[in-house]
């Protein structure tokens, strides 16, 4: 489908308009984070030399600059510290209600993660409510692979959702 005003962009993918990360290994060295997400795991990197756990994941340890890192699991359940609900004027790409919360996952460095809360109507959330990781598909993006043609890189992303009582 053509882009209004710019017909040359018909069927082309503008990465500068992509709201999701380029998660595939061709474009991102922390691709294991996203592969782990696909398995329902919320992970980050830990330095095998100095033990420092960084969030988000890195390709070097920000404390000792070692490249000797491993992926470790973070908790997938936490509690709401504070939240906001946006009902009107939700920006393009997100649905109303757009709910954000600061979540305590109980361990450093994820004691105050700011995340979207999905699968939750407006007006029901309370401080202290338990939430859990929610992984959902987001649109795949095309990568040109020379003679092999173009492949579609499948993607997921994450938010948190209320734990059903």
């Amino acid at each position: 489908m053509a882009v209004v005003g710019i017909p040359i962009l018909e069927d082309l993918y503008p990465v500068t308009m992509d709201m999701w990360p380029l998660e595939s290994k061709e474009f991102n060295r922390i691709w294991p984070f996203y592969e782990n997400l696909k398995q329902g795991r919320f992970t980050t990197t830990k330095c095998k030399d100095c033990g420092f756990v960084a969030y988000p994941p890195r390709v070097i340890c920000p404390e000792c600059y070692s490249e000797n890192l491993e992926y470790i699991d973070l908790p997938t359940k936490g509690k709401i510290i504070v939240f906001s609900e946006e009902v009107k004027g939700v920006p393009l790409g997100f649905e109303s209600p757009l709910i954000h919360a600061v979540i305590d996952l109980g361990v450093d460095p994820v004691r105050r993660v700011l995340s979207r809360i999905v699968n939750c109507p407006a007006g029901v959330l309370k401080q202290g409510d338990e939430v859990q990781l929610a992984v959902f598909p987001v649109p795949a993006f095309p990568i040109e692979k020379g003679k092999a043609g173009t492949i579609m890189a499948e993607r997921v992303f994450f938010a948190f959702e209320p734990v059903k009582k």
């Binding site: 005003g5 308009m17 988000p56 920006p91």
Partner: protein, 394 residues
Amino acid sequence: MARKAVILAGGQCKWGVREAHIVDLFQEAAKACLDDIPTLKPKDIDGLIVATSYAGRCSFQVNTAPVVAERCGLKPTSICTRCDTLCAGGSTGIILAKGLVEAGAADIVMVAGGEKLYTPQKWEVFYSELASVDHDWDGAQGMGLPPPFFALTAQEHMMHYGTKKEQLAAVSVANYNYAADNPVAQMQKKLTLEEAMSAPIVVPPLTLYDCCPITDGAAACIITTDEIAKKFTDRPLVYIRGTAQVCLNSVSANFPGAHLADWKHTRIAAQKAYERAKVTPNDVKVAQTHDCFSISEVIEVEELGFCKKGEGGEFCGSKQIEIGGKVPVNTDGGLLAVGHPFGATGIRQAIEIMKQLQGRARHQVKDADIGLTHNLSGANAEHTILIYGREPVK
């Protein structure tokens, strides 16, 4: 004699929803700047620092400095570059210009900031805000547009310190009333507490007047040394006494405070800037702080040391930010009412402090000799402070 940086002159174009290209706005600002110092000609300017963040997205133009230089008739021979620290770009440019002129690497530098944010279809600027925060982490969580982040901040301030909505509204009222007679402000109307309190909800507890608008605009100022400045002006010199820029995190999960209303990075920036300027918070007679939201100003007056931590609501609600109060803040109307074209804001603040310290501000603070500007940028990821004075640091 050590070279000491001063702000010599400055001007801004009309801010608001502008029927203009970004390069038009920069030309208007450059003219407003040189109109403020008729003895200075474009050929005298040997350096240009351009502060813009959205030119790349909303005007499809990167490497903006040569574009601005050419359109404004400048032919820099010392420096011609762009800096991008979003909401703090203008202040960053001034810090860089100070260093260059004091080091002798440049003599007369124009720092010009501007943005053209209103695109033919409005969705695009809002959508582009996904790039204003850490894109892959906070942007993808829908934190691009800042009201939710500052709504959470306001909630935590209310939870921890008992701040009231009326105290947030008092900031909006003060800043709108400062801007009511400012001909270049986006919002030129008086605001009452009743109007502020009954305004439409944006994200609770923030309502319409708690949030700064989207703004097209540009501003420019001239940074040089005191000895050079004396050749061009008889006005009192306004020295850049001390500066600091502090960045401790980018992704919101690594926010450095104990909670979102605890701005440790602002405190560190303030301490560094006060030390370098050899002044204390009690010396500051007037300040331009980053009131992107009313709650921001409430927290800033605390973290800058104008009142105790947690008492910002009371400070703002009891008219201490107004003329006659302890520290008049955002005396030209601030971001809330003058508007916020990101790269231009720090320059607008510097111009207002320059005018205050020269005794020619529209809402003049009596005997103002020390003034301060402050910016936050991104998802509260960086803080930038400059302290100006009628005398240099000795």
